[in-house]
Structures are given as C-alpha cells and as structure tokens.
Amino acid sequence: MPFWTIVYALLFYIATALLVGGLAYRIRIYAKTPAPLKIPTTPAPVTRQGVVLRMFREVAFFESLFRSNKWIWIFGYLFHFGLFLVLARHLRYFTHPVWFWVDLVQPFGKYAAFFMVIGLLGLWARRFLVDRVRYISVLSDHLMLALLVAIAMTGLSMDYLSHTDIVSLKAFFLGLMYFNWQPLPEDPLLLVHLALVATLMIIFPISKLLHAPGVFFSPTRNQIDNPRAEPGLRAHDSRHIAPWAAELDR
C-alpha cells in the first residue's frame, strides 16, 4: 500500500471513531442530565406534537434567528443549507449503487458549495465589521470559519479547476468501509481537502459545533408547556420532578 493511503486510511478511521464516540459521549451526557424545572420559552406548545413542530421550524428554518437578525439568518442559512446539499451530494462517494435521492440532489449540490462560501464569508465579515460581534469572537471562532472556508474552497477547486480521480477516491472510501483498502489518488488538493475534513470531524465533539446536537436538548425549546396541574394538561396528582429533586422530599 502507498504511504499516503495508509496515513489517510488510519486518519479517517480515527476521525470517524472520535466523531462518533465523542458525539455519543456528549449526547449521553445531555440525555442523562435531568431538567428539574419546566423552562420552555413561552408562548410554548402545550402538546408533544406542538413541540416537534416547534423544533422542526427551529432546525429547518432557524425560526428564532430569523426573528432576531436577518443578516445572520441569511448568511447562516446559506451556509447550513449549502452544507446540507453538499453533504448529501457527497453520499455518492460512499454508496454503491448511488441512492436515488442522492442522484436527485446532485445538480443542486454542485452549486451549493458557492452558497456555503458566501454564507461563511458573510458570517466571517460580521466578526470584523460589527463591533459587538468582534468583541465576542476569539481565535477559535475565526479558525473554525477558516477551516470551513478552506474545506469548501479545496472542494470547489476539484470540481471546477483541477479534477481529481474521483473513481479511485470512491474506491478508496468504499474500501475503508468494507475493510478492503484501495489506493488513494495522491492529488495535493484532494489530500488537503481530506485532511481538513478529518480535522473538522475530530474537533466536532470538543467544540462549539456541539450546537448541532445541543439544539435538540435545549429545554427552552423542547419542553411542553404543561407544568401546573390543569384540567386536560396535567392531572392534579402528577408532577414534573427530577430524581435528585425528589430526594429532597424524603
């Protein structure tokens, strides 16, 4: 096996393990930590279906952010929706035969990377131009944007400037998945792109990227507004109470 193939194969095994393991560890913490008090930001839904809908609007449309700030919303949405399409398109390198819907996304995915970059640059510009956002930005906030921009730019370069051997690349990743290693094309752009992606995977569970699982566990958004005993919503003999809080009653 060529040297770089071994390095990248190991890198992606490690990165995947850290990403999956790290996220599972964090999510386990979020899930196991009790929410002792009902704190939904009201007005909040009074039913489970209502909460699912609220969360869907939050995740799919960034509802609160839209109310909050149109500039952040438009740049943030461009980036995230672009990323979603790009990721969906990339599934073709990990599936054989390629799934039907991934083929559908393909034409959009090719241009989505531009939206991603525009969104990222917009968000980055705010970190310099708006004094309040400049004040709250630290080095890691800039580096995170730099990393994402670099990933998008190297990816775009391979699409529009200098094609890489995509067939061999797919063979490499399928080989990783089925433990039947195939050589990785030694194209510098590709190597940089992949190294950056692996970096992103590794830092995901130890960085602010935890907002992705975090939003689903946010009590202000995922709780049903039914704290008091109330006909039709909560029986008079029932309580929302955490185990550690119940101990105080003993």
């Binding site: 964090r26 913490i29 979020y30 930590t33 009790p34 929410a35 002792p36 008090l37 009902k38 704190i39 930001t41 009201t42 007005p43 909040a44 009074v46 939050e58 609160s64 952010l65 909050s68 700030n69 952040i72 943030g76 968000l123 705010r126 004094d131 309040r132 956002v133 004040y135 709250i136 630290v138 080095l139 890691s140 580096l143 130890i206 960085s207 602010k208 935890l210 907002h211 975090g214 939003v215 946010s218 009590p219 202000t220 958004r221 507004d225 704290p227 008091r228 005993a229 109330e230 039709g232 909560r234 029986a235 008079h236 003999d237 309580r239 929302h240 109470i241 955490a242 809080a245 105080l248």
Partner: protein, 496 residues
C-alpha cells in the same frame, strides 16, 4: 437628581457602540454573615473558594441540563448582542447576553472541557481568579433574568439559567447578594419579603376594608387566615401598602366580593414572590414554595390564586407543582395555581361582574408585559393567553387603550429594569439605564396616542417604574395596577 448620566430618549431606538468597562463599578451590597447563615451559605469568602466554586460548577452541570447544553452550544453568532435592555441602556459589552454567559463559560471551559484544559488561549478559557469572581459579582447582578435573549437565540440559550448558576456558585463560596438573601431570610422568619408580622398585616387589611367602605359604601372584606375559605390568595407583600400595588389588592377584594366567592390571605404564606429563583437555589425556592402548600392545607382551601406579580407567577405557574406538589387535595376542576387575571377574566366572560368603563375615562392606557409572565408562563388554556387575557381585562375596564410598538411587547417585551433581584437602591444607576428601551417605547405611545398611564401586573415592575419614571420626565403615578383599573370600573352591589 443622579450622580450618573441619564440616557437620552431617542426618536428611534439605536443600538449603541460598545464601551468597555463602563458598568464595571456597578455592584450590589454583599450579604452579611447573618443573612448568609439563614440560607445555609457560608458567611464570608471561604479559604479554598476556588476549589469550592469549581466543584459547585461541576455539581450544577450534573443537575441542570439547561446549563450543560447552554454552555456547550453557543456559537457566538451575535444574535443576542443587541437584545438585552442593560446593554442597550449602558453600552457595556459585558451586558450583551453572550458576553455575560462567557464570563461563566470561559471558566467552565478551563476546568471542564478538553479544549479549555489544553488550549485555553485558543478558545478563550481562563482560570477562576479573584478578578474573574469580581466580574461575576458585578455582571451577574446586571441580569434581570428576563429571558429576552432566550427568545432570539437560535438554540434558546437562556442567560437567566447561567446567571442563576453563577449566583448559586457565589453563594456557595460565601459571596451572596444582600438584597435577595436578606429578603429570603425575612420570609423564613416572618412570612413575607417586607417582614410584616401577622398583627401588622391584620391591621393593614382592616384599614383597607375601611377605605373601600368609605369609598363605595359596601362592606368588602379582606380576610386573613380564615379556615374553610374557598380560595387562598397569595400575593406579593408590596400589595399590602405600596402604591399602586395596594389599589390592585383592593381590586382583587372587590372582584371576590362581587363574585360571591369566599377567600382568604394567609399570614404564614403572605408572600407570592420567591427570591429563591433569583439566586438560583432550588432548595431555597422549594422551601419558600412549601409555605404555600402548608398554608393551603392548614386553611383547608379548595383553590390557590396568585396576585399580580411577574417572577412570582413564573415560580407559581411553572415551578410550584414541581417544588411543592402534588396538589391532589385541591379542587381538580381548577388549575393549580390560577392567576387572579384568569379568575377575573373568566368572570367578565361569564357576566359575573359588571364593569363601567367610563370610570377610567381620565386615563389613556398602555400595557407593560412583565418579562417572566410573557416568556416563562401562561394564562388561560392557550399559548399566548398571558398576552391576551390582561389586555382583555384592561379593555373591559377602560375606553382608551393603545399598545406600545410590536417589538417591545408580548414575548419581545423589555424588562422594567428592576427584575431578577436587582430592585435595590444600591443598583439605582443600573435600574435607570436598564429601563431605557421601555421608556422609549412608552414615549412613542405618549406622543402618538396621548397615553397617560401604563398598566402592569408585577410588583417589581410597579415599584421600579414608580422610582424610575421621573428620571425620564414621566410622572411617578403614571404606573397603575391592572386590578386598580378593575377596581375603579367594577359596579358594586350589582350581584346578589
């Protein structure tokens, strides 16, 4: 009038440029030993305070999902930076919600995250030094826990949760806030925030009965500790004598009288406010709440109704059942607890009371949504009832009502500037500056619709505005209780 600059009311709200450190001097008095002890906190800064604080932070992370998720999830997008009334009024960047959270988050990162342990500079993590603790004391007492930031955060991060945690950590190392902790001690000892003992309370209520009778010719009772009454009314103790609160209390009494429903106040639970929430202490909040349960059991009532109070209604509506439930000994036909406005609104709907709107014709009204009612509770059975029910009661009591601009009401409402345990004279500068966004909104309706009075449903809002309105050129008596309007308009002796 003041030894600080009073902000100018502008034609249109402006987001100020940041001015670092301009509010660093703002700190409330520290609680003395005696007040700390009563709450189970050390009396002064403990020797190994750093370790105690760090351990406490870890403990809280394990107890509150909100805290753990909020500390990890912020991406510093900046959406909240112009949402806090204290930032808008002071321009101190540490009053931006995210920056306030970061005072806590940077310490959390240092001791509890991989990145902060090994690359502190990179992620802005810092050791917990005395300077950091001082910053905490200053800026976590510049948050009124109003939750406006949480409405606008894409992840619903609520700075109130972080402020509460920070205050709990500070209490654990012996640096408590005098105002809150002294008041909680008073409730334990006497039964209410004001330290009004039973005989004085009985006297006050008798005086109010005389006032109502002089005024209306009707003998309306304000019963105290009356066993077997149908309703236990729990109301903020400011209602017993402060203006305009007391006019609201007389309004409740008249409504009960006209409805023909027996009710009582309790001297043991003569306080609706629960300052345990302000200091983030579940244990103290629970202990205070249990007084309401004990009073209800002792007096044998069937229902519990809370008077006009903002943070109190949050604790009552959202937490009471958790802290002091279950209330299976009360009448299951009614929610536990109910808000006095739900009660009055229902009566109006059913024609149970008659209101003469013209009695309030000397006023043109607007309504201030109290932060914790708007964003942390509900009234009625539908989401948003906390906005419609008070307005419907006001509109049923007067002829002239205009809302303030949309982005300053409902769940976008601005805090009065005195909530969350900051209603103390040692924070006057902060209170005046924090009221700025509400004052600008008020100015708008005063100039455009000739509004003369602002109605509120929170004891803190009422006290805060009474004090702060004059700084901005409004009359201190232009703040009124909603049940004061009901009191003026209610036609007495109509029902048999």
């Amino acid at each position: 009038m003041a030894d600080f600059e009073i902000p100018q009311l502008k034609e249109y709200p402006v987001i100020p440029k940041i001015h670092e450190g301009v509010m660093a001097h703002s700190k409330p008095f520290v609680a003395k030993q005696e007040f700390q002890g009563a709450l189970g906190f050390p009396g002064e800064l403990v020797d190994n305070w750093q370790q105690v604080a760090i351990d406490k932070m870890g403990e809280l992370n394990g107890k509150y999902r909100s805290l753990q998720v909020f500390l990890d999830s912020c991406v510093k997008c900046g959406a909240c930076t112009d949402k806090c009334h204290y930032y808008l009024g002071t321009s101190d960047p540490k009053n931006m919600p995210v920056a306030r959270q970061d005072l806590y988050r940077k310490v959390y990162r240092r001791y509890y995250t991989f990145a902060g342990k090994y690359f502190p500079k990179l992620v802005g993590a810092t050791d917990l030094t005395k300077e950091v603790l001082d910053d905490w004391y200053s800026y976590f007492h510049q948050c009124s826990q109003c939750r406006r930031c949480s409405v606008f955060c894409p992840y619903g991060i609520d700075t109130a949760e972080i402020s509460m945690a920070a205050r709990e950590v500070m209490d654990a190392v012996g640096i408590g806030q005098k105002y809150c902790n002294e008041i909680i001690g008073k409730v334990y000892k006497i039964g209410n925030n004001l330290g009004l003992p039973e005989p004085a309370l009985a006297d006050t209520l008798e005086g109010l009965e005389e006032d109502i009778e002089d005024d209306t010719g009707v003998a309306v009772k304000l019963p105290l500790d009356q066993k077997g009454a149908e309703v236990l009314l729990v109301t903020p103790s400011a209602d017993f004598f402060a203006e305009p609160h007391v006019d609201g209390l007389m309004g409740y009494a008249k409504v009960f009288h006209e409805a023909g429903i027996s009710w009582t106040l309790s001297s043991y639970a003569s306080e609706a406010a629960n300052f345990g929430m302000f200091i983030g202490s579940y244990e103290n909040m629970r202990k205070l709440s249990l007084r309401v349960r004990e009073a209800a059991l002792e007096l044998g009532v069937k229902r519990i109704i809370f008077g006009e109070c903002g943070h109190a209604w949050r604790v009552a509506y959202s937490f009471l059942n958790t802290l002091a439930g279950p209330f299976d000994f009360l009448d299951p036909k009614y929610p536990v607890p109910q808000h006095i406005l739900e009660f009055t609104h229902d009566l109006i709907q059913r024609g149970g009371i008659t209101l003469d709107k013209s009695a309030n014709d000397d006023m043109v009204l607007t309504f201030h949504d109290s932060c914790n009612i708007a964003r942390a509770s509900r009234m009625g059975s539908k989401p948003g009832g906390q906005f419609t029910i008070p307005r419907e009661v006001i509109k049923a009591s007067c002829n002239h009502f205009y809302d303030m601009p949309q982005d300053t009401i409902h769940d976008a409402t601005y805090c009065c500037g005195g909530g969350g345990g900051l209603l103390t004279d040692d924070l006057m500068e902060l209170r005046v500056k924090g009221a700025l966004p509400r004052m600008e909104a008020l100015k708008f309706v005063v100039e455009n619709y000739g509004v003369t009075h602002m109605a509120a449903i929170c004891a803190i809002c009422k006290s805060q505005f009474t004090k702060v309105l004059p700084y901005y050129g409004f009359g201190m008596d232009s703040i009124v209780s909603v049940h004061q309007l009901v009191s003026n308009a209610i036609v007495m002796g109509n029902k048999q």
